[in-house]
């Protein structure tokens, strides 16, 4: 017999394939957060004085703030004193100069994740920065990128080597006062990627950062800053995984993108943090602030995200369309299964004339998952002839999950044009039976239907990652029907 709704509900269970733990000698701070910890953090990372001041300023501000409660997610209050704010594989001296110096266990961990750091084995045309807990352990293809004038390095290195760029841009899109988690991140961020594309340069390869949380009881606070100077072009991808642990772990990242005149940044995320077990125990709290400033005229930023992991996702990759004719895009697939909760969407702030934005959001809920789209389209008085198109679709698998949509639209400019379309649908028993009657198993059928649902977003991903995203989606829904 084909799958009934009951059977669909019964069969939601999947194995998280990246849930292994790497046993390593690490240098880890004792849990707790105060100014002394921030001093130590800045010192261990050998940062310039201005960074310490920046961190302390952010920390003092954070202490005056309260954890936001407006998102459609439920979780117990986080004890920030129970988290360790720094954990790194033990290094020889100043850190690895080449792959030979990296702990072979760490290399092995990345290999297991399908991210070999050996340049010979790496996908041609993709440079990778690998961030393990609090530190970047390797960045590939640095030499080739340098020839093109591109800077791609761990942000901790950029703090030392490119302080002027950091001073000019860090916090210029997401100030340390922006929100609770952004303030916390500014105070304690440990590593992340830094990218600078000089004027007129088309980055010769895809840039990619792979974030891995390994240590227990630590938070990962990464900071990414990408600057595309006039007329430049870059495509960047991040991936994320973590071991299976019973307790929740906090991941509070800040990503800032700056696109100058005629520059284009394409930022893609495949987020597969550990989502917790079937009963909702454990999993990553993914509280992330991502924002782009399309500062120059004719600049363009495109966010594409595939969010399948994390116990809770709280994230709104946004575009501030400052320059005239600037373009902002947001393509999102968010999947929640079991007890996962996602409150995600975007903000498009139209300031410049003729600015355009497109939002395509696909939410999939299975099991007891709760999936919320929250989006703001704001057109200021100055944004003559601004246009926005929003399409927001939800797909339900089974009958115990939820889909919610909170669109906010504020328009101050009469010549603006704003469109919003939304649909909610269910994988019907008729669709499943139809596919089964053509010879497909119920699982293949669901995977096919879901992939079809997400097609408009997947086609925005770089080729090799689109394949990965489809496979991941299939995996995350494994067992969601019978």
């Amino acid at each position: 017999m084909s799958a009934s709704t009951q059977e669909i509900n019964n069969l939601i269970n999947q194995d998280y394939k990246q849930g292994f733990v790497t046993v390593l000698e690490t240098e880890t701070f004792a849990p707790g957060l105060d100014e002394e910890v921030i001093h130590r953090l800045s010192k261990v990372k050998n940062e310039p004085e201005f960074m310490l001041e920046y961190r302390l300023k952010a920390f003092r501000h954070w202490q005056t703030m309260r954890s936001p409660e407006w998102a459609f997610v439920k979780f117990d209050p986080i004890d920030y004193q129970a988290i360790s704010y720094y954990s790194a594989p033990k290094r020889k001296e100043d850190g690895p100069k080449s792959l030979d110096e990296i702990d072979p266990q760490v290399l092995e961990a990345y290999k297991k994740l399908g991210i070999p750091l050996d340049e010979q084995e790496r996908l041609a045309g993709v440079a990778v920065d690998a961030v393990f807990d609090s530190v970047s352990v390797a960045t590939t293809f640095k030499g080739k990128l340098k020839d093109a004038g591109v800077i791609f390095c761990p942000i901790s290195e950029a703090l030392r080597d490119h302080p002027d760029l950091i001073k000019q841009y860090l916090g210029s899109v997401v100030p340390h006062t922006d929100n609770y988690f952004a303030a916390l991140n500014a105070a304690v961020f440990t590593d992340g990627s830094f990218v600078y594309i000089p004027k007129g340069v088309r980055c010769p390869m895809e840039l990619s950062t792979y974030f891995r949380i390994n240590a227990a009881n630590t938070g990962q606070f990464e900071r990414t800053l990408i600057i595309a100077d006039e007329g430049s072009h870059v495509s960047y991808l991040e991936g994320c995984t973590a071991p299976m642990r019973d307790e929740n772990q906090l991941h509070a990242a800040v990503v800032e993108l700056v696109a100058m005149k005629d520059a284009t940044i394409k930022y893609s995320t495949v987020q597969n943090w550990y989502p917790g077990d079937k009963e909702g125990k454990g999993g990553i709290y993914n509280f992330v602030t991502k924002r782009a400033d399309c500062r120059g005229d004719n600049s363009k930023v495109s966010w594409t995200q595939v969010e399948t992991g994390s116990a809770i996702t709280w994230k709104y990759p946004s575009c501030i369309l400052t320059g005239d004719n600037a373009v902002g895009e947001f393509y999102s697939v968010a999947l929640t299964n079991n007890y996962q909760q996602a409150d995600t969407g975007t903000k498009m702030i139209h300031i410049g004339k003729n600015t355009r934005s497109t939002i395509i959001s696909k939410g999939i809920s299975a099991g007891k998952g709760q999936n919320t789209y929250r989006g703001l389209v704001k057109v200021l008085k100055s944004a003559a002839y601004a246009r926005n198109y929003t399409q927001c679709d939800s797909l339900l698998v089974g009958d115990k999950c939820g889909a919610h949509t909170f669109p906010y639209v504020e328009v101050k400019q009469p010549s603006a044009q704003v469109e919003h379309e939304a649909t909610t649908s269910k994988i019907s028993e008729d669709q499943l039976f139809f596919c089964q009657q053509r010879g497909l198993s119920a699982e293949d059928a669901v995977s096919m239907i879901v992939n079809g649902f997400c097609k408009a977003v997947f086609k925005e991903l770089p080729m090799e990652f689109a394949v990965e995203a489809q496979a991941l989606l299939g995996l995350s829904l494994e067992g969601s029907v019978g």
Binding site: S2, Q437, G452
Partner: protein, 251 residues
């Protein structure tokens, strides 16, 4: 090929089929006719494995295997094909993708290798021409935005490519204009072969003008109340179903 013995089927507590007996041999075309609510579609569904039905008595043997025990996808891979009365839409999944996935699932079951992309394209394009369809159909999402006739033609296209042994057509003529009916019928006729059998569920006789059945069975109140040759369909066209229903009550 198919032997149905004393088949009783319930939906919930309600008996729908009340003792169906039917023998279908290879190469035969059987038309199942009857008034609305007689159980025609239930028969098509129970043969193809749709959920929501309970077999309370009797058996269905397909090539000497118990059909009722098989999952719907296994039946499909074993050669049972249902042409749907209301084909569903699957947004974002192209027709050609579904066809290839289905064909490969069936081939795998039969121990054959996956079909080569070029060979597949040649095969599909040939069948598309046969059904006078536009090749663009292949790249559109499954049934999305298709007209009623296009959806039915698409069902026959799937049948032509998957080459089933037992084809069940559930009200394939409903919603078709006369031109579409002709094309669909020609498609079905082209698939007739000595080792392929058809069960055509239909309310009206007009489909049988184009696809000549070997046998016609009349279903009323969950039982086959009369069987005969093609001439029975003509008689029904003339007299309607009521004389048979009242016969049954009298019996």
């Amino acid at each position: 090929m198919l032997t149905i013995k004393n088949l009783h089927v319930n939906v919930g507590d309600k008996p729908i089929l009340k003792g169906i007996n039917l023998q279908i041999n290879p190469g035969e075309i059987h038309a199942i006719m009857g008034p609305n609510g007689s159980g025609k579609s239930t028969l098509a569904h129970i043969l193809s494995g749709k959920s929501g039905y309970t077999v309370t008595a009797g058996s269905v043997a397909y090539n000497n295997k118990d059909l009722i025990d098989m999952a719907p996808e296994i039946r499909a891979r074993e050669g049972v094909f249902l042409a749907f009365q209301y084909p569903v839409e699957i947004p974002g999944v192209s027709n050609i993708y579904l066809l290839k996935a289905a064909l490969n699932a069936i081939r795998k079951h039969q121990g054959l290798s996956e079909v080569d992309a070029m060979d597949f394209l040649t095969l599909v394009k040939g069948k598309v021409r046969l059904l006078e369809m536009d090749e663009k159909f292949l790249y559109r999402a499954v049934n999305e935005g298709f007209s009623g006739g296009e959806k039915k033609r698409n069902e026959i296209l799937q049948m032509a490519i998957l080459e089933p042994r037992l084809c069940i057509l559930d009200e394939t003529d409903s919603g078709l204009d006369i031109d579409a009916l002709k094309i669909v019928s020609e498609g079905v006729n082209s698939l007739r072969s000595p080792d392929r059998s058809f069960v055509m569920v239909t309310h009206y006789q007009r489909l049988l003008d184009y696809i000549k059945p070997d046998f016609v069975h009349v279903l009323a109140n969950g039982q086959i109340v009369k069987s005969g040759g093609p001439e029975l369909a003509l008689e029904l066209e003339e007299k309607g179903y009521s004389w048979l229903e009242s016969d049954q009550v009298a019996a």
